[in-house]
Symmetry: C2
Subunit: 105 residues, 2 copies
DNA sequence: GCTATATTTTGCTATTTTGCCAAATAAGCA
DNA sequence: TGCTTATTTGGCAAAATAGCAAAATATAGC
């Protein structure tokens, strides 16, 4: 029901581009970071507290997310604040929620 | 617009479960396979022709997709036919299409 | 300039992933 | 049973990833 009719990836570049985003989201710490950013911007220290990894590790995860355009960074003073570049990305989580539910399709 | 309101991943298990599916989709060959299966079942040999990798490599990619419940396999004679276990998974590609478009959100 | 705070980069090791080949398994047919 | 086709599994090397600690960078304030 209400399946969207948009084009599937068609060519090599599509497959690559799509896979890159999925890959960037394919780590629990990065999923957690994106979920936190759904509520609004957070600085690196805050995100580090959330994911409980070394701050340098978190910084690397953030650079992965930045690399594929999922988040963007804005420095204010000594802190860097991260936000979702396109909140529509969160719709992915809805699809997965459906996928993981017990409903038929 | 028309953002779904479903829950985001909340706890450690959610983050893991969600990341596993994204990770499984985080490879261009696997994206290509899933896209092909959108049109209906395919046997391993057909998928191998599509992705142009060694058949054993394709078999491994398929086992990754099977492992997270994205596809299921059915043997008929000497062939094994793969299908999408839940076609609603394809909605993910629509979200990414939006994400990659130039529209605002 | 010096110091303190926040973040990123670099260097390193351990682990995982990818891809191929060869061997093993499964099913159908002579 | 033996032979063929289709797929999976195991082993290996190369490449990519994850994590930490230490060093480097950026900014603010003195």
């Amino acid at each position: 029901m209400s399946r969207c009719e948009t084009k599937l990836p068609q060519n090599r570049e599509d497959f690559l581009r799509v896979a890159e985003v999925f890959k960037a989201l394919g780590h629990p710490a990065r999923v957690r970071i994106v979920s936190a950013l759904a509520e609004g911007e957070h600085c690196v220290a805050d995100l580090t507290a959330l994911v409980q990894l070394d701050i340098s590790t978190v910084s690397n995860h953030l650079s992965v997310l930045r690399g594929v355009g999922i988040v963007c960074a804005e420095r204010r003073g000594t802190q860097v604040f991260y936000t979702l570049r396109k909140p529509c990305l969160l719709n992915l989580f809805c699809c997965l929620d459906d996928f993981h539910s017990n409903a038929p399709s």
